[in-house]
Symmetry: C2
Subunit: 285 residues, 2 copies
């Protein structure tokens, strides 16, 4: 999966150059460049990945033009036949969780007709607020035929501060894994519609997490720039070749910084290597 | 504090009527009506509250026009001399947390100059990802002279599923409270720049939370529609008259549904009652 975390200070040069002649202030021009950058990345690696994972933070920091660039990026990915996982790690009390669900995979009724949301095929959610706060997200995802990925054990070092606390006799992330298992509905594929974000940086945890969530799709961020190694992730793929999604952002989009050459060619080559490693693990390679 | 969680299906009639003649699709017209609704609510209760708390979910479900309405609402509140607490409960790994901080209280450098963020005076954050994920948010808030409110014990029933788990010998929310206390820097006022979201629906927890966070400002959502009672919140105000912020959304903005009459008049009366109750508790009334 191609992570899109566009950093306006490190966009592909072609995206910046073609945005330069447009009219608008810094927000409009930067958002236009971000959109072009994302479109170019989708074009470069679209044949190698099954989905994109736009990082909502990177778009919303550009205000309304950034949100428009996010929508355009999602639409471009759909046009290219790719799935879209909106990575916003949203979570709030039930009435607000429902509004987030409308934004991500639903629509909002109003006095001038229905307002469409982002139209994502999947999204990430934060489970700190408990089951009642997850339910509107899971339910909206189910209605839309989408997948809700709950944070279970994230890839950052600080995850240990909260997620690893013994609560009461197993780490908190095991309780979150149980919640994911309980909330998911298993389809004909044998996979559930509630997945888990399980960082690739601590692969030794994956066996136990797979025991606790036999049907969940694992989203494995942290490969590449964050230090995760695909070859160590075998346990995540065990039940089904599609039971794990490896996602990589900076190590694909910024591959030219290490490999040299054209950013699009470097990204395509890096994505192809990642695909081969993941397919080998999943028994498809 | 006036919570703004605009529901397009329950906007003040004047906001819908004056948006009807504009051009645009459902998203543009609905966002215009939401903006007018929020401006009218700020005008009606601005003299009674110190701040507004826009709920980001309710704006982003309207796409880019919704984000523009959010920015316009924030600017209108600032023009009215009010503070703005952007309620988005964001949280992610450190590199992404930095992007959220740019969106909320900072700006983003790029090839066409600096892109300004929302310019909020405070925001809410989700601490599930641990200390390293909170630090970029706290640090950006400090630079901007803003306040970061971390979720400690939320107001929904499901909060018990995760936040109340014994971890390892006290509930998880006590560990989150300790994190808030550690991260905060105490200013001349005696109040820290990291606050805590402590739902008003479980007032019996507030005494212990105040012990653990003697300098934190408590944000107390859940008064009114969610069932919280202001009179029970005394412990939150103990150290300082400004040590607690009572926030109410639907019971102010939708006050006309119960009281009848003009929505603006009903909102002003409901806000005034809430202010009196809170000031009495804080020793200012």
């Amino acid at each position: 999966m191609l992570g899109l975390d566009p950093d306006p200070a490190a966009l592909w040069p072609v995206a910046v150059e073609t945005a330069r002649d447009l009219s608008g202030g810094p927000a409009e021009l930067t958002a236009a460049a971000v959109e072009r950058h994302c479109r170019a990345a989708i074009e470069a690696v679209g044949a190698t990945v099954v989905a994109i994972k736009p990082q909502l933070a990177c778009f919303e920091r550009l205000g309304a033009p950034g949100w428009a660039a996010l929508q355009a990026t999602i639409d471009a990915a759909h046009d290219a036949g790719l799935l879209v996982l909106a990575d916003g790690k949203r979570g709030d009390v039930p009435v607000t969780a429902k509004a987030y669900a409308q934004a991500l995979v639903g629509s909002t009724p109003g006095p001038f007709g229905e307002v469409a949301g982002l139209g994502a095929d999947a999204f990430t959610a934060n489970p700190l607020l408990g089951r009642d706060a997850l339910e509107p997200l899971v339910s909206a995802a189910r209605t839309a035929g989408a997948c809700c990925f709950c944070l279970v054990r994230t890839s950052n070092p600080g995850a240990a501060d909260v997620q690893d606390l013994p609560a009461p006799d197993a780490p908190l992330y095991e309780r979150l894994a149980a919640l994911v298992h309980e909330l998911g509905e298993v389809g004909d594929s044998g996979l559930a519609d509630v997945g888990a974000v399980t960082g690739a940086t601590r692969p030794e945890m994956l066996g136990r997490l797979r025991e606790l969530m036999p049907h969940a799709i694992f989203l494995l961020p942290g490969v590449g720039a964050q230090g995760g190694d695909v070859a160590a992730l075998g346990a995540a793929f065990e039940p089904h070749p599609a039971a794990a999604l490896v996602t990589s952002s900076r190590s694909i989009v910024n591959a030219h910084e290490k490999r040299g050459g054209d950013p699009a060619d470097a990204a395509a080559a890096a994505a192809e290597e990642l695909r081969k490693s993941a397919w080998k693990l999943s028994g498809r390679g």
